[in-house]
């Protein structure tokens, strides 16, 4: 009985496919096909100008496992993510709650906080690089006048990743905040009114009403922030050159991929590094989707 599909339903299906076609075609052409091409390329030693690739099997992966720089990059990428994501989300959530309340000129604040997201990362980094400049930078100037010794924010291997994370946090807070703000506005006022009558404090309201009810948005923000953070490239590329002593303690997987593929013209090896990144991101995302049942509330 169910096998028979009415003409109307079939028509609806056709329209459905037609409507999503642009996105699907875009995804396939721009994302899915390149993923498989990269996987394919990672088994080759690439020749000059995309010609004369030689099949080497798992050679690139073998080199990768022995390459300590790759493991530095894994460590740095995870380190950067752990520094940026929690701080961003906590600050963004607090700001979203503040801007969701009755505040004069909150439209202006929302715009201001969102601006870093609109600015080009390269330009943002250039400005920060000047602030961080060890000789003439504003930050060191202020520290100096406070009697604190100057820091080498960019070239000191122990500090550089933190400096980079600060830029990362600064530029992503606004975006996460806007998403969370949208989530907050979905929460019905009634809950707060009811809890007011019950005499709940603001803090109690935040943890018992706001956080659970905004958790679907929070989950989305968490997943996308982690993925974006794992793919960090432009800030590090603009700030740290291969000659910098902080290179090994800041190089991210994408930056390492870029250097190997384009600086050292070894696209096969670069592809292998990207496959490793893909694998790591996939594992993290799978774990997150499994864990979401524990803490995400869908109303």
């Amino acid at each position: 009985m169910k096998n028979k599909v009415s003409k109307k339903t079939r028509n609806e299906w056709c329209w459905g496919w037609f409507m999503v076609a642009p996105t699907i075609v875009g995804l396939v052409v721009l994302n899915i096909i390149p993923i498989f091409q990269t996987l394919y390329l990672s088994f080759f030693k690439s020749g000059a100008f995309g010609k004369g690739n030689v099949f080497v099997g798992l050679e690139n992966y073998k080199t990768m496992i022995q390459d300590e720089q790759v493991w530095y990059a894994v460590r740095n990428t995870l380190g950067y993510t752990c520094l940026v994501v929690p701080v961003t989300i906590v600050i963004a959530l607090l700001m979203a709650v503040a801007l969701n309340g009755k505040l004069k000129g909150k439209g202006i604040y929302r715009t201001i906080y969102f601006i870093p997201m609109v600015a080009a990362p390269a330009a943002v980094t250039m400005v920060w690089k000047w602030l961080y400049n060890s000789q003439y930078g504003l930050i060191n100037h202020v520290l100096n006048s406070l009697g604190i010794e100057k820091m080498n924010w960019i070239d000191n291997p122990k500090v550089a990743l933190i400096s980079i994370s600060i830029i990362g946090i600064w530029s992503t807070i606004g975006y996460s905040m806007v998403l969370l703000l949208a989530g907050l506005q979905e929460i019905p006022r009634d809950y707060y009114e009811a809890s007011n009558i019950d005499g709940a404090s603001k803090v109690r309201q935040f943890f018992s009403i706001t956080v659970p009810l905004v958790s679907p948005t929070l989950f989305f923000v968490l997943v996308t922030s982690i993925i974006t953070a794992m793919q960090v490239f432009d800030v590090i590329y603009m700030m740290i050159d291969v000659t910098s002593p902080a290179y090994n303690s800041t190089v991210s997987l994408v930056y390492l991929f870029y250097n190997n593929s384009f600086k050292y013209s070894n696209k096969g090896y670069g592809s292998a590094i990207v496959m490793l990144l893909l694998l790591i991101i996939m594992i993290i995302t799978v774990i997150q989707t499994k864990l979401q049942k524990k803490w995400v509330n869908y109303m």
Partner: protein, 428 residues
């Protein structure tokens, strides 16, 4: 109803203009190519380079060239050094190289041997303006692969010692001259360094061409041997590098890793001396501070009197896939001709490669002792290169920076570099 009609009409009008607009374009470009075939009509030749200071001056040359050849337009495209090569490789892979562009000894083999460049041998033979005999020996050779000439020398560059006259006067020291040796340099650097680190005697940034390469060759060492093996494990190479790094270890130079920061350290009066290539002149001459306080001199010799400076020259190349090889050649021919080379020297673009035109370059920057760059050619050493120089050259920085910062023994770091470099050379 009426409103609907108006909007439909408007839409129709817009669509017709759009369509006819496209149509016109097609027709005109068709005509353009036809014209080009018949009489060499309007053709745009792109010219890519990586130095924005020089690009401004070349624009003048291009304007003059366009006046003489009204059917050819020159489109100069500038991209910073690193991005230039990344972009060029991507363009070559996609088959859309600029028509003409700068070539460097680091990359010539990669592009030439992979058929990305137009073989200019026949063009040169037919030309009455370009003869490779008119360029310094060795420069033309860089761009010759198996008897095929893939680029024509554009300029050459050497490295000189720059010093801050004001700081020398303050310290009561005599300015550097050709009697200076490594010892004199170090003594002067010690006297010019202040204990509170507000001023350093020397700027020994981590740099090869404008840095330790010069010391290596002055010491009789080499970066790459004649049979294309690494020279980093050569004892004399290690000594040369050690001497250069010692300025940082002895506190006579700040640790500088960034290319731009080296020039900044000079321009801010942080360092009293530093090594800079002749290509910096056009930039230095635009800063009043540099003009008033700085001058340059030949590089100090090693203590046994051996002199050396790293010498390199760029070339103008034409893409193998260009649609207008004849027009592109005309432009490159003009740039390489005596007239074009003289003009570039006069404007102060770079030290022109054409023999006898270099002196005009010295005249372009009378405020500095520019002549010293040209004098050094006598004993200059061609910048070490192999088929894929950039692969081992940047990796070498990665391996040497530990030793540079004094965290690793220089000899150990050099041995590691040699191993990496030999591996890279074998893979070529």
């Amino acid at each position: 109803m009426k409103r609907k009609l108006v909007s439909v009409l408007l839409c129709a009008a817009m669509i017709t203009t759009l369509v006819s607009g496209c149509g016109n374009k097609n027709i005109s470009s068709d005509e353009g190519t036809k014209k080009a075939e018949e009489s060499g009509g309007d053709v745009t030749i792109s010219y890519a380079c990586w130095d924005s200071n020089q690009a401004k001056l070349i624009q003048t040359v291009a304007d003059e060239f366009e006046e003489e050849n009204p059917n050819i337009k020159i489109d100069i495209q500038v991209n910073g050094w690193d991005d230039y090569w990344t972009g060029l490789e991507a363009a070559a892979t996609g088959g859309s190289l600029p028509d003409t562009f700068w070539m460097h000894s680091n990359n010539i083999y990669y592009y030439g041997s992979n058929d990305q460049l137009l073989d200019l041998t026949n063009y040169i033979e037919k030309s009455d303006q370009v003869d490779l005999a008119n360029y310094p020996e060795g420069l033309g050779e860089i761009y010759n692969i198996d008897g095929k000439q893939y680029a024509i020398p554009k300029d050459y560059d050497t490295i000189a010692l720059w010093y801050n006259k004001t700081l020398f006067d303050e310290a009561g020291l005599a300015y550097p001259d050709d009697t200076w040796t490594w010892d004199t340099l170090k003594d002067a650097a010690k006297k010019l360094t202040k204990d509170d680190k507000s001023q350093y005697g020397f700027c020994a940034g981590l740099h090869n061409q404008e840095g330790y390469y010069n010391f290596v060759y002055q010491n009789g060492g080499e970066i790459i041997t004649e049979d294309k093996k690494s020279g980093y494990d050569n004892e004399k190479t290690v000594q040369g590098i050690e001497e250069y790094f010692s300025f940082v270890k002895d506190g006579l130079s700040p640790e500088i890793y960034d290319d731009q920061a080296r020039a900044e350290a000079m321009q801010n009066g942080l360092c009293a001396m530093g090594l800079f290539g002749s290509w910096n002149l056009s930039g230095f001459a635009t800063t009043d501070f540099m003009k008033e306080n700085f001058d340059c001199a030949v590089l100090p010799s090693a203590n046994d009197g051996t002199r050396s400076t790293i010498f390199n020259g760029l070339g103008n190349a034409i893409s193998a896939t260009t649609e207008h090889p004849d027009e592109a050649w005309k432009w490159v021919e003009y740039l390489s001709s005596k007239e074009g080379q003289e003009r570039q020297a006069e404007l102060g673009t770079a030290i022109s490669a054409y023999e006898g035109t270099a002196d005009k370059f010295a005249e372009a920057y009378p405020m500095f002792n520019t002549q010293c760059y040209i004098d050094m050619v006598e004993y200059a050493q061609i910048r070490p290169y192999s088929n894929q120089t950039s692969v081992w050259e940047d990796k070498a920085y990665e391996l040497l920076k530990g030793a540079y910062a004094g965290k690793e023994d220089t000899k150990v770091a050099c041995e590691k570099t040699a191993a990496m470099m030999n591996e890279a050379l074998d893979a070529e």
